[in-house]
């Protein structure tokens, strides 16, 4: 006697659980029960669980009966002739959807030739066990799973062609690759997902060798000639947004070129790209600090004096300008209204990004690397037939990571490029390596893909044969232009007078606690003092009370708020942060006295 549950609720019992579930499933295949219903027999607790609620992940499988797949060759032919569709197969009971629990009752064959009489289902394709991104890795079954994972993650960060209507969209932080290509080595999933409509990379020539040590630690070397021909070029789009906000009292923001008497007026130069309406003109070449949208806001506080004063209240400058380190060309200007009916201005800035040292590139196998050197084409190695690699990849990236698919793709790309065809690299079902090798041999190349290369600088022949071929390379969205940062002097925080933090605020690079310790360990005491004077300040201290004294420059007088005027007051150098903590002590009713003594 087994209990039967429907969506977790007890509905009855059955004497023959196996027969019961079998019968229910038959009914489902006959369309008497919706295909999304799952029937699961839990043998351990002897329960039958029937689920129809939403939120279960279902996956399609081919039904197997008596050791033979229900889906036959005839079905395939009908599908090809477009006489039937996928949903017809479900209706005919050839395909059914299982959820995670019903899968426990199923015995699923991986390939058709593996089917035995015990099997209940067959995978639609072995590729079905991988997700979309993972199945885009060619020859994925030759890899460690970690690398497959890294490879599919990298593809998500690649620059490509994300939407065909990008010229009329206002997306934040968007990149478009200039000459995207369809990969030579592809898979079924590339066709299924219409990859050629939104490709993310380019087919290039890769040589696996070292080059003067500039490709150590995963760095790659790029051919300047390839860059000039358009490799890895992309555009970076970023909108600037301004709104005409309304304030209480009928006051309103105003878009326009600010008047010179506006509080916080920049310089005439900064407003030079603005047209009469206060907005830049398209195709203006702008640099950091340039105003894109001129705007003024009403004063923040209305004092009683201002209300009666004859002069009109002074407005505040609140223009939108390019931040530190940003540059580009004005691409698109959009004028509209927001939900509240306020005027909304969006200006899109475009910046062409040519590959430079520090940009990140990757193949589809988790072999990411940063550009270490850009070499003139004349100095790149070349083969007897005149082939020059676009990228030089370090051989040290291979042994420890064991990305065999990377090597096979290189081989496959070479065959594809030489014979002018696409190579099927579908995981578990790819064109075998042996055939690629044979094709290479037939075309008069070394079957292992190596070639004799010559040193581009000296013309000497390299002693080793170099593994060279074609690969699909992706440019990743992490570009140095968005990350480079340095500072000698710059903005400080109001409260502590210490440098601000972070690239966006042009901040300092903190010498932290542990870095401080290294100075102490070296005994470099004066160097440590010098490093830590970012917030140095000179504070007058009253010797009588040990308190911070006041220096009144207007009256040229110094006095102590506690001990009065007839006291000795000395200027003491200390970090402003320390003065701040003394003030905080005072706010806690703790009186920190500073006792002074002669240094020598």
């Amino acid at each position: 006697m087994s209990d039967v549950y429907l969506n977790g609720k007890f509905v009855g019992t059955t004497e023959n659980a196996l027969g019961f579930t079998e019968k229910l499933r038959e009914e489902r295949r006959k369309q008497a029960i919706p295909p999304s219903v799952s029937i699961y027999h839990d043998e351990e607790s002897d329960e039958v669980q029937i689920e129809s609620i939403k939120g279960r992940t279902l996956r399609p499988l081919i039904v197997v009966k008596n050791g033979r797949a229900v889906l036959t060759e005839r079905h395939i032919q009908q599908l090809e002739k477009k006489e039937i569709t996928w949903s017809d197969l479900v209706k005919q009971g050839a395909i059914e959807y299982l959820d995670a629990s019903e899968e426990e009752n199923a015995y699923i064959a991986f390939r058709e030739q593996d089917i035995t009489p015990e099997h209940t289902h067959l995978e639609v394709s072995p590729l079905a066990m991988l997700g979309l991104a993972a199945s885009l890795v060619p020859y994925g079954n030759f890899n460690q799973s970690t690398r497959l994972n890294a490879g599919s993650k990298n593809q998500k960060q690649a620059l490509g062609f994300y939407a065909a209507n990008y010229p009329v969209r206002m997306d934040m932080d968007v990149n478009i690759l200039h000459y995207p290509q369809k990969p030579i080595v592809n898979s079924i999933m590339h066709d299924v997902s219409k990859y050629e409509k939104h490709p993310v990379g380019q087919n290039i020539v890769v040589a696996i060798m070292s080059y003067k040590g500039y490709n150590m630690e995963d760095a790659i070397i790029i051919n300047q000639g390839s860059i000039d021909r358009g490799f890895g070029r992309s555009s970076y789009f970023r909108p600037a947004i301004a709104e005409e906000l309304r304030y209480p009292g009928g006051l309103v923001d105003e878009v326009g070129i600010p008047d010179k008497d506006v509080k916080g007026y920049k310089s005439e130069r900064d407003y030079r790209y603005l047209e009469g309406d206060g907005i830049v003109y398209p195709e203006a070449v702008v640099d950091e600090g340039d105003v894109i949208i001129g705007k003024t806001s009403p004063p923040r506080f209305l004092s009683s004096m201002d209300e009666y004063s004859l002069t009109t209240s002074i407005r505040r400058e609140s223009s939108v300008s390019l931040k530190h380190g940003e540059k580009g060309v004005i691409d698109f200007v959009l004028l509209t209204e927001n939900e509240e009916g306020n005027k909304l201005i969006q200006v899109r800035v475009r910046d062409q990004r040519v590959p430079e040292i520090g940009d990140k590139f990757t193949s589809r196998h988790g072999q990411k690397g940063v550009v270490g050197l850009i070499v003139p084409q004349a100095d790149m190695p070349f083969s007897a037939s005149g082939i020059v690699p676009d990228i030089i990849f370090s051989p040290h990236g291979i042994p420890s990571r064991m990305t065999i698919s990377h090597l096979i793709e290189l081989l496959g790309g070479k065959v594809g490029a030489l014979s002018g065809r696409y190579i099927d690299g579908t995981t578990f079902d790819a064109e075998p390596e042996e055939r690629l090798r044979k094709d290479l041999l037939d075309m008069g190349f070394n079957e292992n893909g190596t070639e004799t290369l010559y040193n581009g600088l000296t013309g000497e022949q390299y002693k080793a044969k170099i593994f060279i071929g074609n690969m699909y390379y992706l440019k990743l969205k992490h570009m140095v232009a968005n990350k480079i940062h340095s500072r000698a002097r710059g903005p400080i925080q109001l409260l502590t007078r210490q440098p601000t933090e972070g690239r966006a605020k042009e901040g300092g690079l903190r010498l932290g606690e542990m870095e401080k310790d290294t100075f102490v360990a070296h005994g470099a005491s004066l160097l440590l003092k010098e490093r830590f004077d970012s917030d140095r300040s000179v504070i007058p201290i009253c010797e009588e009370s040990g308190n911070i004294a006041v220096r009144d420059i207007l009256r040229n007088k110094s006095y102590c708020p506690i001990a009065g005027e007839n006291v000795t007051i000395n200027d003491i150098e200390m970090p402003y942060a320390f003065k701040l903590i003394l003030d905080e002590f005072k706010s806690l009713c703790i009186y920190p006295k500073i006792e002074l003594e002669e240094k020598y």
Binding site: A521, L528, F578, Y591
Partner: protein, 377 residues
């Protein structure tokens, strides 16, 4: 044996002098000996730590840096040993924090002759292992009607642990509150005072369960093993005082990993050495290379006061003279408020305070000071 001039005896450590005596040829000329000794003294002097060297910080970095690699290694070691032993970073933290309750107390009991050769090793191990009443009981339940606890004894367990009826009656006869009666396998424990509440009865049952029958208290498991031609007993649980008192134990070699126990039984000097050994053992087992002097320095600061103090805000940090230094390490408000209450004065004599005030730190190049005061008119 070479005789070494008196003036060198104080200039060099004893170990070096002993080595020299052993290594130098007997018929060495006076002149050559002089030259060698001078060279030794010069080398020894150059190896000394310079004044103003931040030895504590260098120790901290020298232990801390390999410690970052240790965190990752820790997982691989868990569960490998026969008894699950805390090693790696958690163990280091436990020792340096000076924790009283360590997670896996253990002893290595060395035995006196002839037991160290393996004689009666199983029997001795069994004698050391603590047996409680619950270990030999197959059933314990409360009889509410008679306000008594009824225990069914497990004869096979008793035999295995070497417990007789006499052991049990003797152990229970010592208790004042109960009267025990044994008939066959049934043991009846009755409270002497009448009308106990169920709550009290339950508490009594819990007490009876853990009545000590035989063995050394605190030793929950024993494992006889052979280590370098000698049979020793490794135990889970530790009781140094009682184990050292056993006649068949070699008290000179027996050790525990509970440093507080060592401190209580053998004194602070032994505890210092035990702590150094324990820390070094962990670092060595991780395949890391940390000079033992760094560990010695840390352990010296932990034990210098005569009792074990952890490197925590309650331990050695609370001993710091400077308010600012204490406040900069955890719970600043507590330290500042307490300092304000008693009007504490900070002499700014140490490193941390001077970093806070951005003054030259009294270490390294900041240490030398002018001693002569200018006598101007």
């Amino acid at each position: 044996m070479v005789t070494i001039q008196k003036e060198y005896l104080n200039a060099l450590p004893k170990k070096v002098i002993d080595d020299l005596k052993k290594e130098l040829p007997k018929d060495i000329s006076e002149k050559k000996l002089q030259k060698i000794l001078d060279e030794c003294v010069a080398t020894y002097e150059s190896m000394k730590v310079d004044p103003g060297e931040s030895v504590g910080l260098v120790s901290a970095e020298s232990i801390g840096e390999p410690g970052t690699q240790m965190t990752l290694n820790t997982f691989h070691f868990a569960g490998v040993a026969e008894m699950n032993v805390t090693t790696g970073l958690p163990r280091i933290i436990e020792i340096l924090d000076g924790r009283k309750e360590i997670s896996t107390p253990m002893m290595d009991i060395y035995l006196a002759e002839p037991y160290s050769k393996g004689e009666d090793i199983k029997k001795i191990a069994l004698q050391i292992k603590e047996t409680k009443l619950k270990d030999v009981a197959s059933e314990i339940f409360i009889n509410i009607a008679d306000s008594a606890i009824e225990i069914t004894l497990d004869r096979s367990a008793m035999k295995a642990a070497g417990i007789t009826d006499a052991h049990i009656t003797k152990a229970l006869s010592g208790a004042k509150a109960v009267a025990a009666k044994l008939s066959g396998d049934a043991l009846n424990v009755k409270a002497k005072s009448k009308d106990l509440s169920i709550n009290d009865l339950y508490k009594l049952k819990e007490k009876v369960r853990v009545v000590h029958l035989s063995g050394v208290k605190g030793i929950s498991q024993v494992l006889p093993v052979k280590r370098d031609d000698e049979y020793i007993i490794i135990t889970a649980g530790s009781n140094l005082m009682d184990v050292l008192g056993l006649p068949y134990v070699n008290p000179k070699k027996t050790v525990t990993n509970n440093i507080h126990e060592v401190s209580e039984v053998l004194g602070i000097e032994a505890a210092r050495q035990a702590t150094i050994n324990e820390v070094f053992k962990v670092i060595e087992s991780q395949g890391l290379n940390v000079d033992i002097r760094h560990i010695m320095l840390v352990v010296d600061t932990m034990t210098a006061s005569g009792e074990i103090k952890g490197i925590t805000r309650y331990g050695v940090v609370s001993e710091k003279a400077s308010v600012l230094a204490r406040a900069s390490f955890e719970t600043p408000i507590k330290h500042v408020l307490n300092a304000a209450l008693i009007g504490e004065r900070d002499e700014l004599a140490s490193v941390v305070e001077n970093v806070m005030l951005n003054q030259p730190i009294p270490a390294g190049t900041g240490l030398p000071q002018l001693m002569v005061k200018a006598q101007g008119k």
